[in-house]
């Protein structure tokens, strides 16, 4: 939309964040409130998981960040600049896959990428074919590059869409469900690719329903429900939010339960040879030492972390139906 000059100073309040939104709100023309007062902060260098049930406003948020739709109210800064006003300056540094790939069916995979690259006025035409070849290679499509895109399978299209996001070195990658339709090998490769990009310093903003995927690759995450942000932070903290449980395996469960209660462990439950309780704040080594001192024979001692999936369901509710 607007054309900001490349030399404009960064937005003062955006700080180090690659993406920063303040009270970002979108009401679609039909009256649907899709995103409601979103305060989102994506730290530089993070792999940021963006979670939420269907219809919770993830894609809408991404569209606003990419300048495709105008927020109803609130602001969004990407790479320190306001969107959509600075789209021309910001977007060359951003690779995006939004709501699945979109391709020209009558063009080959390679020609699709050549076209998208030509659309970027900051892309050097002298290096275009080399960059296209490198991007195709990165997503494993070199052999199918000459095939018409309409003959691509779902996963091949998804890979080509990813390749389009990788045509240039990017500071930010925005990937809306990037592993949709990929085979297990493809998913693994994409995860490896995301890790490699992240270690090169690219910030990755990743929306996905696959929680183990988020748990495996993301350093940070945010959870949306019904257009509102429920929580955001480092992934370790989010799953710790649904606090882990201390698990002691022992042939002396009664003694163990008594000692654990003495040590301040709450909600102690005994089941056969397993004694579990809420992990206390204090150093667990001391708890273990207390068990041993009391003569309890310990076979196993550890904390079982709640999975992100459990944390997610705890945050967004069990219901299967999509909010209207």
């Amino acid at each position: 939309m607007g054309e900001a000059s490349a030399g404009e100073p960064d937005g003062a309040h955006a700080g180090d964040a690659v993406v920063a939104t303040r009270a970002l709100t979108k009401r679609y023309r039909g009256g649907q409130l899709a995103v409601d007062g979103l305060h989102l902060t994506v730290p530089e260098g993070s792999v940021f998981g963006f979670l939420g049930p269907n219809g919770s406003g993830k894609t809408t948020t991404i569209r606003m960040l990419m300048g495709l739709i105008e927020p109803t109210s609130g602001t969004a800064h990407v790479l320190g600049r306001p969107m959509p006003r600075s789209a021309r300056a910001v977007l060359p540094h951003v690779g995006a896959l939004i709501e699945g790939p979109a391709l020209y069916g009558f063009l080959s995979g390679r020609d699709n990428l050549l076209r998208y690259d030509a659309a970027d006025p900051t892309a050097d035409p002298r290096t275009r074919s080399a960059r296209v070849a490198a991007a195709l290679d990165r997503v494993g499509l070199t052999a199918a590059a000459g095939k018409k895109a309409k003959a691509y399978s779902l996963g091949m299209k998804q890979r080509l869409g990813l390749a389009a996001a990788l045509l240039q070195p990017r500071r930010l990658l925005v990937l809306d469900e990037p592993t949709n339709g990929l085979d297990p090998q493809g998913m693994r490769e994409i995860r490896t690719l995301i890790r490699a990009l992240a270690s090169d310093g690219t910030t990755v903003f990743l929306s996905s329903h696959l929680l183990d995927e988020i748990e495996q690759v993301c350093t940070h995450a945010a959870v949306m429900a019904r257009g509102r942000l429920i929580t955001q932070g480092p992934v370790a903290e989010l799953s710790a939010g649904a606090r882990g449980r201390l698990v002691v395996t022992t042939p002396d469960p009664a003694d163990a339960a008594r000692v654990l209660k003495e040590q301040g462990v709450a909600d102690v439950v005994v089941a056969d040879d397993r004694v579990t309780g809420e992990a206390p704040e204090r150093d667990l080594a001391e708890v273990n030492a207390a068990l041993v001192t009391a003569g309890v024979r310990v076979r196993g001692f550890g904390v079982e972390r709640a999975s992100l999936e459990e944390a997610f369901v705890a945050l967004t509710g069990e219901g299967f139906d999509v909010a209207g």
């Binding site: 939309m1 490349a6 320190g80 995006a96 050097d124 070195p169």
Partner: protein, 289 residues
């Protein structure tokens, strides 16, 4: 923005890459080639029909009044098939082809979803719109030239060529006739800039390529009909096809510029009005498809 920006030295010429890509994409579409094929076939049909009709030595059109302009002259000089071909395709075939290409230009990208990827590339909304309009104009020119060249080839194959008589009765050489034919083709192409802008505007209104094409062609037909209703003659000078056939005035000696300039002025007006409307709409539009 320090690191990555320092690495990228950008040349202003690179911005033209999108226009080149747009031309390639448009002319590689089956639909574009089919439209051009239909346009090329029209002069062939006229030429063959005239040839069959006049095989017994009589002249076509029965002395004028019937059929498209200049048709009675074709048997004397194949070059007249160029003028006849353009006169026959200008009221409907040419603008319909432009309507299809212009109507689909943005709406087609929206329905395929490719629009969002062009915009995040980032193509820039104004730049993309200008590129699309320039491409539609290029298509106007190519479509007109396809009719003209096809007509010239068929005319040369089926009929004699040589000096020709203008509408005013003066003789001009074949070379000068060719120059006039080229000039007429350019004027015909320019006559289509109004429909092109209209189609582009319609294309910004919807996310369905088919709907945009159908609407544009529908509007074209409606306006052509309105232009034929005598009771509406007060309206006629503002309808974009009204002065289209003024290109024939280029075959007078001296040339009558009156209606020609009115035509070009009207096209410029339509291009300005609907171009601005398309810009206002497209630069503020939510792209959700």
């Amino acid at each position: 923005m320090s690191r990555a920006e320092a690495e990228r030295r950008v040349s202003p010429l690179w911005t033209l890459g999108l226009f080149r890509s747009e031309l390639l994409t448009t002319f590689r579409r089956w639909r574009t080639l089919a439209l051009l094929g239909v346009l090329a076939a029209v002069p062939v049909l006229i030429g063959v029909a005239v040839r069959i009709e006049t095989g017994d030595g009589s002249s076509a059109g029965g002395g004028g009044g019937e059929g498209p302009a200049f048709i009675s002259q074709i048997t004397n000089n194949g070059l007249f098939l160029v003028f006849t071909g353009l006169a026959a395709t200008l009221p409907f075939f040419l603008p319909m082809a432009i309507g299809v290409v212009a109507g689909d230009s943005l709406a087609g990208e929206a329905s395929a979803g490719t629009l969002r990827y062009l915009l995040v590339a980032p193509a820039g909304r104004t730049r993309l719109l200008l590129t699309k309009y320039a491409t539609v104009m290029a298509f106007c020119l190519v479509a007109t030239l396809v009719v003209a060249v096809s007509a010239l080839l068929v005319g040369a194959l089926l009929f004699p060529l040589g000096d020709l008589t203008t509408i005013s009765g003066t003789r001009i050489s074949f070379g000068e006739g060719l120059v006039r034919a080229l000039l007429i083709a350019l004027v015909v192409a320019a006559s289509l800039t109004g429909v092109a802008a209209l189609g582009l505007f319609v294309s910004t209104l919807t996310n369905s390529g088919i709907a945009a094409m159908a609407t544009t062609v529908g509007l074209l037909i409606t306006v052509q009909i309105l232009d034929q209703i005598p009771q509406l003659h007060a309206l006629h000078p503002y309808l974009f096809p009204h002065y289209w056939l003024s290109f024939a005035d280029l075959m007078r000696e001296p040339v009558h510029w009156d209606d020609l300039t009115k035509n070009l002025g009207l096209q410029a007006l339509y291009a300005a009005v609907f171009g601005s409307a398309a810009w206002a709409r497209f630069t503020s539009k939510d792209v959700t498809a």
